[in-house]
């Protein structure tokens, strides 16, 4: 583990930008987004939460799957240029690790996995707490694996843990920085302990481990209908969710009609037509059925696929994004935990 000054860290970032494609968290008005980083001064390691999670780089909102032509049939497209993801918060990293599992199991998704391989992830411990986070309840306020480098703000500087070969490959000047002393290491543990408490802006009364059980007996609970009544079926909660990954595929045909592409785009189980089949039958035509499905995916269906991990990391983005104010998982699971 290394200790660096804030200035030295910025110098390292500027150096990195000269050598690599770097995506970083940046300010846009009073909020934060991910994008290509032009200079270290634009990087905001003190952001609270980004509008969209870093899944935008691993499963892009729109991605070319295939090219086709009348004459030549279909050919695969894989877009996976090496890049550095700079400033990933622990809860988003927890989500990425879940997506790694989802996309590698059974039929492995080569496009996701190649991009994942192409990504070097520099995580940063949370400095500013966002308004709706409950990552502290979800065990995702800090992580101890999964990153290539982890940065933690300690006083005026940072400690940097170079955790993997990929991390060392981009370490540059960080590698020769002074080793972090025992006090700095202790300070990092203290940051983790504090963040576990600070990242609790909503009070969860149902332990995540109890979510599958609550759902098993909560299928007919009145909360689904009550909340869904106000739902606009807009899909904002799923689009901003770091563990949502459902998609659609569409044909994009050139005007010669002789060639085109098949693209994969984000989809959402909250949209009205998601479970519709050809012929018009909709297997989840009621808003309450769709609303409930989303929470079952978070608390039961995806956990069953990925060894019990709850598919909610407490980032709180859905809470912020939902204009109807019905998307707070804490409220839903607290309700399920109450006596009816």
């Amino acid at each position: 583990m290394k200790s660096v000054s804030a200035k030295a860290l910025l110098d390292w970032v500027d150096d990195l930008i000269r050598k690599r494609r770097v995506m970083g968290a940046q300010a846009r008005d009073d909020r934060f987004t991910w994008g290509p980083l032009a200079r270290a001064a634009d990087l905001r390691l003190d952001y609270d939460v980004t509008l969209l999670p870093p899944k935008v780089f691993l499963q892009p909102p729109r991605e070319k799957l295939l090219e086709f032509s009348r004459a030549g049939g279909y050919t695969s497209c894989v877009e996976a240029e090496p890049f550095v993801l700079l400033g990933v918060h622990p809860y988003d990293l927890a989500a990425i690790r879940q997506m790694d599992e989802v996309f590698s199991q059974d039929h492995a998704d080569a496009r996701y996995l190649k991009r994942r391989e192409a990504a070097t992830i520099v995580a940063v411990d949370v400095q500013a707490v966002s308004a709706n986070t409950f990552a502290g309840h979800m065990g995702a306020s800090h992580v101890e694996t999964g990153y290539d480098i982890l940065l933690t703000r300690i006083g005026d500087g940072y400690v940097a843990e170079l955790a993997t070969k990929k991390g060392e490959a981009i370490a540059g000047a960080l590698a020769s920085a002074a080793d972090a002393d025992a006090a700095a290491q202790e300070a990092r543990r203290e940051v983790w302990a504090q963040n576990a408490q600070r990242l609790k802006k909503h009070e969860l009364k149902a332990a995540p481990a109890d979510w599958p059980g609550l759902l098993r007996k909560g299928y007919e609970h009145s909360v689904w209908e009550e909340k869904a009544k106000l739902c606009f079926s807009c899909g904002s909660c799923t689009l901003t969710c770091p563990t949502c990954y459902c998609f659609d595929a569409r044909e994009d045909v050139g005007w010669s009609l002789a060639r085109g592409t098949r693209v994969r785009i984000w989809d959402s189980c909250m949209l009205a037509d998601f479970a519709k089949v050809a012929g018009g039958h909709n297997f989840r035509k009621n808003k309450a059925d769709r609303y409930r499905h989303r929470y079952y995916r978070k608390g039961q269906y995806i956990p069953e696929k990925i060894g019990g991990q709850i598919a909610c990391v407490g980032c709180g983005r859905c809470i912020t994004a939902c204009v109807a104010r019905i998307a707070n998982p804490v409220e839903v699971f607290n309700r399920l935990a109450e006596a009816r």
Partner: protein, 282 residues
Amino acid sequence: MAKKKTSAGGTDIYLPEMATVVRSAPMTELDRFLEFRLDSGRELGHRPGQFVELSVLGVGEAPISISSSPTQAGSFQMVARQVGNVTRALHALAAGEKVGIRGPFGTEFQVDGAMKGKDLLFICGGIGLAPVRSAINYVMDRRADYGKVTILFGARTPAERLFTEETRRWAAAPGVTYQETVDRGDEGWTGNVGVITTLMPRLAVDPGRTVAVICGPPVMYKFVLLELRKLKISDANVYVSLERHMKCGVGKCGHCQVNGIYVCQKGPVFRYSDVAEVREAI
């Protein structure tokens, strides 16, 4: 990150391989019979009940059941009902034209498992006959391996019946009972009129040695299952093929989910006793 072996040696699970239409013929106003051969020359290698993702160049991709039996080598067949962009485009394809194929995907009717040696009861509504035909012809080609075969087929009108020549052959085969009904008859129709369940009370089945297979429109299952209960056939001896939009076919896109179950992986064929408590299933 998790290191797992990729399927098929890391090949692209979303890349179709090319196939050629070798036969295309109208069946009903909405349905068209299509036969394909893979351009690589390899067999599709499917099992009865499985489906493929079929691409029409420039239009898109749709999941379609395979209707031919794997006992018929060299090509494979489908019935395309004109209900969406892809099937509409499929209807316009002539012999010699190209399509893309991914698959086969999904689970099979248990023709070499639970159904072997048993009396079989096939209950098909409308285009539900298409996937079940794969199992029926498999059984016909290995007739000695199975007991009595009963096939019930329901269509909306006489003109919407499928595979009318083939069903006549089935009806004439030894040890096979074939019955059909239509929701609405016409001037020339002298056969049964009524929904498919009206054929069931008269059935003589030995519930102890019968395996039933159901495939049809979503509304049909509940009523057929009730009649099967009356015939004392246990839920464990009933197989259902469930329709959903299996968009990716590989358990990722989410569209086909029935509660926590990806139909493209755990289905489309389910043992009814395995899904009887799954609320979104039927």
